[in-house]
């Protein structure tokens, strides 16, 4: 092989890599799933005290602006569709590099999914860019490391560049919503059956490898880990039940982690939640009303924790314009 041929081959490979990377950027910057990570990088360093992680249940239930408006707590919701605990853990690490946050609230359904499908994990994390935290995925998906480097390879999972993918555009209002995504619909009366019935004998044989890692990370950095399961309604596919509740409660008790399950009568009553009016029509997510109540409860809960040194009403980024924009969006969504 001559020198010219060698150079030509190498150049072609580099060009191919650049094209694949460029396509990944174009596709994933524009087609990303729900979640408001863009705004996260706009936050001034060291200004977020609480982060929320988890799947869509997280981004539909915890409203950072509401939390600030009512309790003065600066937070950001890093939930994304189908976020697994692996992706949540990596987001927690990423957040730790920008903010000296005091508490991380994990929506518990993500805990039961230690890592998801590679496509959803890449979609959950790609907005952080290909940095050292993102590349932790390559260590997990060893056989598919090339997909981590060039996510265009997972886009074919919808060769499928179809209407649905386009609809799942990043929320342009993330500056005002800080990762929260409001849902307006209501479950209605007929689904008013709590998922957790108090059956102590039920259990789920699950291990939580990435929750373990997050717990260790929190211990090392003095961060309070809190597990929360948001309220869901009973339907033919129950994503949450006594077995999962008991298993997670067992884990939480073992490591002294607070676990707030809003599907239990205790927390449902304490937060004033009602399945019919506070859960969305899809029976899985909190609606605007439910998110308001859960967020309010979380605010009170966080402030009464003695060990947390939360700075109330100190975040200059959540000014009146943000709060105004937030209420405008909520009003728009509620009126649909």
């Amino acid at each position: 092989m001559s020198k010219r041929q060698f150079l030509s081959g190498v150049t072609f490979l580099l060009l191919a890599a650049a094209v694949l990377w460029g396509c990944s950027e174009i596709a994933f910057r524009n087609l990303r799933v729900y979640g408001g990570h863009e705004g996260f990088y706009d936050c001034a360093p060291g200004t977020v005290d609480v982060v929320f992680i988890g799947g869509s249940m997280s981004y539909a239930a915890f409203s950072p602006v509401e939390l600030y408006e009512k309790h003065g707590i600066s937070s950001y919701n890093l939930g994304t569709s189908n976020q697994s605990m692996l992706a949540g853990y990596i987001w927690a690490l990423e957040a730790g590099e920008y903010h000296d946050y005091k508490a991380v609230v994990v929506e518990a359904l993500a805990v039961s999914m230690s890592h998801g499908e590679i496509a959803s994990d890449i979609r959950s994390l790609y907005s952080m860019g290909i940095n050292h935290n993102y590349l932790k995925l390559a260590g997990v998906y060893k056989r598919n490391f090339y997909k981590v480097l060039f996510p265009i390879f997972v886009l074919h999972d919808g060769w499928e560049i179809n209407e649905i993918t386009f609809k799942q555009r990043v929320n342009e209002d993330s500056r005002y919503l800080r990762g929260y995504i409001p849902i307006a619909s209501e479950a209605g009366e007929k689904y008013r059956v709590p998922l957790v019935q108090g059956d102590k004998s039920a259990t789920a044989y699950l291990k939580f490898p990435y929750l373990d890692r997050l717990r260790e990370y929190c211990d090392e950095n003095g961060i309070q880990l809190i597990l929360v399961k948001t309220l869901m309604a009973s339907n033919e596919v129950n994503y949450w039940d006594d077995g999962l509740h008991n298993r997670l409660q067992e884990y939480a008790d073992e490591y002294g982690i607070p676990f707030l399950d809003f599907n239990t009568a205790e927390y449902m009553e304490a937060a004033g939640l009602d399945i019919a009016t506070d859960v969305a029509e899809d029976l899985r997510h909190m609606n605007v009303s439910g998110a308001g109540k859960v967020t309010d409860y979380m605010g009170k809960y966080l402030l009464q924790m003695d060990n947390l040194q939360i700075r109330q009403f100190e975040n200059p980024q959540i000014g009146s314009d943000v709060i105004e924009g937030y209420h405008r969006i909520i009003d728009e969504v509620s009126s649909r």
């Binding site: 030509s8 081959g9 396509c23 090339y146 390879f153 179809n162």
Partner: protein
Amino acid sequence: MAITSFGFLLMVCAGGALYYILPKSWQWAELLVLSLVFYCLSAEPYTFIYILISTAAAYICTCYADSRRAETDRGRKVAVGLGAGAVLLNVLLWFVLKGAGLWMPLFPKMASMPFVAALGMGYYTLQMISYILDCYWKSIRPQKNPLKLLLFACFFPQMITGPISRYSQLGSLYERHVFSYENLTFGAQRILWGFLKKLVLAERVGILVDAVWSLQAQEPVFLWIAFLLYPIQMYSDFSGCMDIVIGTAEVFGVRLPENFNNPFFSRTIQEFWQRWHITLGTWAKDYVLYPLLKSRGMVRLGNRARKKLGKRYGKFAATSLGMLVLWMVLGIWHGGVNHIVGVSLWYWALLMLGELCAPGLKKLTAFLRVNEDSFSWHLFQSARTYLIYAVGIVFFRADSVGRGMAFLKDLIVGTFTGNLHLEKLFDRSLLQLGLGAADWGILLICVLLLVLAAVLRERDGYARRWVAKQILPFRWFVWLGILLAVVIWGKYGDEYNAVHFIYQIF
């Protein structure tokens, strides 16, 4: 391990790099190790024992036939017995394990028994039979190194769907290769082209065809779509696999025989079978048809037929009998009753009819003053051949002869009873068949690309050689475009079931 997987590509890259770093005398040994690794990753490792048995049988009988012991009368008889035994052993192993579909219905109690055939059994069995016979016919010298013979049987790229190589064609397997930039780039380009055919085109057409075949109430216009597109699926699937296989071998400097030569440009069904699955066709001719026609019984039969029917028809009768046996063997190799009855008999009948009518048709075209060299006449003949082929493979696609007949009946009855409803082609009804509008566009582009490549091949040899003559930006644009098309539009990966090649089952 699917040959469309990233793991396979990684294996080829790493294996290829090592191949040219290692001392050249070790290269064949590396190919053998790679083949074993590929086998273990792609099939039940214990089934490799069947390949070992076949190879051992071929090795022992051919080495004995080549030894001094075989020079005596008794030795010759022993050698012939050993050779026949080795061939029979290969056939028997294939019949029990791979041809279970033929005998299993007679022994339903055995249906629950786990008969697991070796990977590529249909292909390597034919290779080993040809090797044994070639050695006995003194066409080749037997391989004295059993491991090299094992490599001939299990060379990894051809374990999925062939091609069925002859020993004499695979001399390059044992040669010492120096790194060649041309081999590397042409091999990689051919692999990429194969990916495009398989992952972008064949899989898309497959969705359409499967959707129509699974519909209970079938619209005739949809039946026509499935009928006309299934040959394209077959071609892009099988020849796409061949491109990947041949391209992979090329990276290692090994030349495998071609299996396709623009079959849809064929003017007659005879020509079609000389351009489609070429290695199987030539194998069947060389090891079934010609020996059969030269056998004493057939020669005697031919002589009698000539006396009774005259020279032309007597020869035709003997040949058609030989061809019938050949097509039956091909049907049996494909392993299904529907294939034997539906496909083999159909093509045999058409071939014989073509042979019989050829002189009359020639006179007719001369009488009508048809310009046989004109494009339009060629197009008409190619379209006719395409339709004949399409009818036959309906039985290949169908689960049974009855299902195939029902499909053709619905197609014909629906067309001639005014239920064709061509307007369904334009009222978005086609979008019910599993493909969106964009996918139809991609499908169309791919078919046009296929036609373009075929035209370039007819004119300039390989299309990639034509591309190689172009200026650098154009060349890179072409290959990067194909790469992107495969990556973005291809159907592959963990989210889908492993994509198998249609001919992988044989």
